[in-house]
């Protein structure tokens, strides 16, 4: 892919950096008993190993674990003003109290080890299967000046628009925190990777699993969550914007004959997107050729909903040039940072660009 011109003053905001503890068990230091000594999964994704390992070799032997090195790679080397850190948790664990304890320890670890550094902003990890504890965790961190979003797994046992989860989204909206949906690492007790069974190979899993965003998005819309919570904002952090337009066309078309089943949906499904939804960039998306890509960006309106995220230190991460290939200068500025500064209402050093 040809390199796009990156505006020198773009003030890049990288919306997806995945820090990890040096050892997966290091978060135990932030847990109390009985959780501290309780067994729980590590951070590897068990069933779909990436071809050369999960990480970019350039990220070093302990990828994503050293705040200084991560700052050098994602901020200094790429000229980024800010990075939004989204640590992984351990999948959908059947013991909801253990899952909540892992989220809380991850948040404490992130705040203590990472968020005191310039340019780093954090995500409040919560376990959505237990809305009571999830809301309490949001309340515990909402006042932290560096926690700028709530993060939940893509994996779920029910689509996220369903009423079980409503208190979590109400809390996020009340505090003006976007909700990032991202495929979690590790495996808990999860559903099949596709609704018709498990994908057998990495190529199937990597192409298809991010598209589960569509199930959550359709659910948020049809259940009326966006209608009831004008301030709720959702970020699909594994990408998938290339599949958004066909999904939106399909939903708009069948909204008309079925509107009476969901009378709280008082506009076409597409009409909710600009206010409520963003996608992070992913290198799999869009046509490979830059000229066709420019057409794709403008035809689909993708540029309005897209924000740059590197997925550092993932093996299939996205650099700024790839994220804006084919985009004109104004569009590139929006994708690389301007949209994110508005979306996250970033203050401090990230606000200056």
């Amino acid at each position: 892919m040809s390199a796009a011109p990156i505006p020198p003053a773009a003030g890049i905001v990288d919306c997806a950096v995945h820090p990890a503890p040096r050892h997966p068990d290091d978060i135990r230091a932030y847990m109390r008993e009985p959780w501290r000594s309780r067994p729980f999964p590590g951070l590897q994704r068990y069933f779909y190993p990436a071809p050369n390992g999960d990480f970019d070799p350039a990220a070093g032997p302990n990828p994503g674990t050293d705040p200084d090195l991560v700052a050098r790679h994602v901020l200094r080397d790429r000229g980024a003003a800010a990075a939004i850190l989204l640590p992984q948790t351990r999948g959908l664990l059947p013991d909801l109290d253990l899952a909540a304890a892992i989220c809380a320890a991850t948040n404490d670890w992130l705040a203590a080890q990472w968020l005191d550094r310039p340019g780093f902003y954090g995500s409040i990890r919560v376990s959505p299967a237990d809305p009571v504890q999830a809301v309490a965790e949001i309340e515990r961190w909402a006042g932290h000046p560096r926690m700028v979003q709530v993060a939940v797994p893509m994996q779920a046992h029910q689509p996220y628009g369903q009423r079980l989860y409503a208190p979590i989204w109400e809390a996020a909206a009340r505090h003006g925190l976007p909700v990032a949906v991202h495929i979690d690492s590790a495996s808990g007790v999860e559903l099949q990777t596709t609704p018709v069974g498990a994908a057998a190979h990495y190529v199937e899993w990597s192409a298809l699993y991010p598209l589960n965003f569509g199930v959550h998005l359709a659910s948020f819309i049809a259940e009326g969550v966006f209608g009831r919570l004008p301030d709720l904002r959702v970020v699909f952090a594994d990408g998938g914007i290339d599949m958004l337009p066909p999904l939106a066309w399909r939903m708009d078309k069948n909204w008309r004959p079925t509107r009476n089943e969901t009378p709280w949906v008082d506009r076409t499904p597409t009409a909710y997107l600009r206010q409520h939804v963003r996608f992070l960039s992913h290198r799999l998306e869009g046509p490979a050729d830059a000229a066709t890509r420019a057409k794709w960006l403008s035809l689909t309106g993708a540029a309005n909903l897209l924000m740059y995220g590197s997925s550092y230190p993932a093996w299939d991460g996205c650099d700024p040039a790839t994220a804006v290939a084919g985009a004109d200068s104004a569009t590139a500025t929006r994708i690389l940072g301007a949209s994110a500064r508005d979306w996250y209402r970033l203050a401090g050093e990230a606000a200056q660009a």
Binding site: R256, P257, E261, W264
Partner: protein, 119 residues
């Protein structure tokens, strides 16, 4: 051109007749004593909209997930793609820019009279 389409008593409240006027026929509806005449042509895909059910529709209630049944007898549902049409105005519920053609109706000497100029 003005057409006597039926004796008023032949179309009681809630009733309708489909008469061979205009290009596709015209449905004449009695909604609680008021007559309305609509073209039998859905603006969405050209379906025979007057063959659809006369029904009501839903609006969101005050509480989350609450829905109320409203406008019973005032909504026509196209038999092809289920678009909802307001019988009293011809407007589709989901796209007010798309409208079923309507015609003036009067009651004269006990006759329902519809004015349809097109052929």
């Amino acid at each position: 051109m003005r057409h006597r389409v039926a004796r008023a008593a032949e179309i009681p409240p809630g009733g309708m007749v489909l008469v061979p006027l205009g290009r596709r026929g015209v449905g004449v509806y009695n909604v609680r004593g008021a007559f309305h005449a609509l073209s039998n042509l859905c603006p969405h895909a050209g379906g025979p909209v007057c063959r659809g059910d006369v029904t009501g529709t839903t609006v969101a209630g005050g509480a989350p997930y609450a829905q109320e049944w409203v406008r019973d007898g005032e909504i026509l549902r196209c038999p092809w793609h289920a678009w909802e049409i307001d019988i009293t105005t011809g407007r589709t519920i989901t796209d007010p820019t798309r409208t079923v053609a309507t015609y003036p109706v009067t009651v004269e000497d006990g006759w329902v009279v519809v004015e349809v100029d097109e052929r």
